[in-house]
Symmetry: D2
Amino acid sequence: MSKTDFQPADDQFASRVQGSFARQGVMSFMGAKLGVIEPGYCEIHLPFKPELSQQHGFFHGGVIGMIADSAAGYAGYSLMASDAGVLTIEYKMNIVAPGDGELLITEGTVIKPGRTITVTRADVFAIKQGKRKLCATMLQTLAVRTGIPEFLG
Amino acid sequence: MSKTDFQPADDQFASRVQGSFARQGVMSFMGAKLGVIEPGYCEIHLPFKPELSQQHGFFHGGVIGMIADSAAGYAGYSLMASDAGVLTIEYKMNIVAPGDGELLITEGTVIKPGRTITVTRADVFAIKQGKRKLCATMLQTLAVRTGIPEFLG
Amino acid sequence: MSKTDFQPADDQFASRVQGSFARQGVMSFMGAKLGVIEPGYCEIHLPFKPELSQQHGFFHGGVIGMIADSAAGYAGYSLMASDAGVLTIEYKMNIVAPGDGELLITEGTVIKPGRTITVTRADVFAIKQGKRKLCATMLQTLAVRTGIPEFLG
Amino acid sequence: MSKTDFQPADDQFASRVQGSFARQGVMSFMGAKLGVIEPGYCEIHLPFKPELSQQHGFFHGGVIGMIADSAAGYAGYSLMASDAGVLTIEYKMNIVAPGDGELLITEGTVIKPGRTITVTRADVFAIKQGKRKLCATMLQTLAVRTGIPEFLG
């Protein structure tokens, strides 16, 4: 069963997301990986490494923001036509618990797709010894653009 | 002349900011450096490298968010007493132009310091061939905590 | 069945919400009414009147923001102890469709309750000829305070 | 001397702002008035009345949000061509002090005008016995639209 009711404009949406993600230098630098991709939905998984930490050994808040921005952006991008892309206009994120765990899973979901503006959200969960805990939630606004067939994180 | 009118609670504020920054693994991983530190004001400088890019070779939006969060957080932290610290509750950032340049300079400034809540802002500028252009602006809310004498990014 | 899993700290939570709401001059001025109140959940209903409009005869965006702020604030307040209250620190709202209808229904829900900070959300729906359409979504941060046993909108 | 360096696209910008403002039912309902209008800058003044209050007799946070949204929106609108208008996509506001005073003055300013997206800010000051105090600050994103030559609050 699908996680959303959205119909993709391009049935190659998953390979477009994968191709765009692979071209973002910062994602492999951090060690982020794509998870489930469905129309209007995208997961990013980020295993912990010390280079991603703040002083207490938790994931840095900026790192949490980065994968939340990307997961929500790719959720929006998954609904675009093959010649269109999305650009982050803005996002707002609340950190509700420390990023304490061996893995972060971010779930990006489209709230409202649009012709020129798409609104999305992301929830970030820290996985610690198999237990999953919400650590951040984000609201994001994307601009839809033709001629840049990518999500530009 | 000072950039703000704030009086620091602890005259060792600059060395506390430097020490905390040095303990954030992710800052050296990205290559970020502290710039000017004054009471209620903090700059972070980030030279470009391909690992920080999105597909078009610009700074990734998530990277912009990360240093904006940190510069604003350290601006808030600079006003804390020596036994207190700050934690990011939330932030909202607008990206107003691509992060296109050889250097990002982020200026974090305190808007309203408080006993339990401090509100800050950050402006991020891309420097390209010596020209400076606003690429993002952020509003941030920090929680003031005793017993965690750090900015926990 | 309850809409959330939260346990109220005070079993008089519903009458506290009703009392506080009744003391907010602006709610009766606008014609807003409380709907369902459960632990961590609060609805506000606002019938259309021309005084609440912008130029096209839709609900003004500021009016939408006002009842979203209040519904989310009362959701947070419903979980407080009898001697505590909440204050809005900040909120961020996306307007995803015009407020076009005879009634707005706002659903405020707690995302993460806390000892000093509570994070909430609200969704605003416009009801037009019986059809319900999302028109706005909000993320909100509340400060928990003892000695102000109210939600101060 | 002008408050900004922006050049208006339409030299009738001030009368367009005044006309649009006059058509917003909710502004006269609340008693809001336009102040200074310049290219990329707009003030709204709101005298206190009990109908605008929360329980402690201060301006309700939702009322503060409403005039901040409008002042920033009209700042953006002042730079539009005569056949274009703006729509609020989203805003985020921090309330930094209670709205305690006989008058609120909101200053809306354009941060970055654009062809399809304009980013603005607003600062809200409470005036009490002649003293001016910052009570809220907002970041806002507007969509530029042709065919709706108004700011649709």
